[in-house]
């Protein structure tokens, strides 16, 4: 739920990185944090388990400058990917304005991507939001693994599995190397800001 502060001429927007466990959601945020260090005044917040997996969420606030005369503050969150953490995953989705779905390109994770997208659909319904209308961008992550000979799903297969009905922008990316991490972020910011532009007049 974006909040427009007319006094400070500021808009706060919530963007959530969603997707199956070990897909690279936290790695996306870590790359953004390292890359835009000078624009981020705070530490990245992570609530992790001992095994270094996201337990609740990661949080990274980032200023992206002015849009229509408003200072735009993007609040980036990740959710825990594992199936068992659905209760906390749903909490993080509360008030979401835009979603990046980080899918795992590894062939062995095909089923997990599809299940996670279904889970997103269900959890959004819980907040009376529809996956068909919310700003959403797909990121097919881990394409760098091809170099190591790990079997990956072709772009067309990922599109057919996840994006055949939704028809949203999709990026092949590598969060570890940073490839297409920033274009994914820019795309979701553009789409999310467009969805609330009527409020910024």
């Amino acid at each position: 739920m974006a909040f427009v502060n007319l006094k400070k001429k500021e808009v706060q927007v919530k963007i959530v990185y969603y997707g199956p466990g070990r897909g690279g959601k936290t790695t996306n945020l870590e790359y953004i944090y390292a890359k835009f260090n000078e624009r981020i005044q705070t530490e990245m917040v992570t609530v992790k388990t001992h095994g270094d997996r996201t337990l609740f969420f990661d949080f990274l606030p980032i200023d992206i400058g002015k849009i229509n005369g408003y200072t735009a503050k993007m609040q980036l969150y990740t959710v825990p990917g594992q199936v068992k953490y659905n209760a906390t995953r749903r909490l993080v989705l509360r008030g979401v304005d835009g979603i990046v779905f980080v899918a795992d390109s590894m062939a062995v994770r095909r089923e997990k991507n599809i299940l996670s997208l279904k889970n997103l659909h269900e959890n959004l319904k819980n907040y009376k939001k529809s996956i068909f209308s919310i700003p959403l961008v797909f990121q097919y992550n881990k394409v760098d693994l091809a170099e190591q000979g790990i079997p990956l799903l072709p772009f067309a297969t990922m599109e057919k599995d996840l994006n055949s009905q939704l028809k949203r922008p999709a990026f092949e990316a590598s969060a570890v190397t940073g490839s297409n991490v920033v274009p994914t972020l820019k795309k979701i910011i553009t789409m999310t800001m467009a969805s609330i532009k009527d409020e910024l007049k």
């Binding site: 974006a2 909040f3 006094k7 706060q12 919530k14 917040v45 509360r94 304005d97």
Partner: protein
Amino acid sequence: MSYTLGQKQLDSIDEILQTDLVDIGVHCVFLIDMSGNIIASLDDGENRHDIYSLAALAAGNFGAVSAMAKIIGEGEFSLLFHKGKKENIHFSKVLTEFLLITLFGNDLSLGFLRLKVAESVEKIKKILEPIHTP
């Protein structure tokens, strides 16, 4: 979905937080929504906490505690308060979509703080009610 608050409404909220809470000695007070956005924040001039992170964690924490309450058959816990050695945090829900978070030291009694928080919550409700979405 999004919502907007104007100068007049935000000024009124600031005034309530200043006179009811900052003036009685709380260190820092902020009003957020359940998504973790900060609507208003004030402090006594000495606090330099990272309130954006605090707001995100507070909204998550409040959501988690409410979910626990439901599992054990409580609608909601009436007192949400974390006690530290020097700094304490108190949470109070405002309507269904907002949270008032107060940081205060041991020089202020919890009872008095709760009384003042309850008073300001009633006043803030009147301002936020028109934009409130159940």
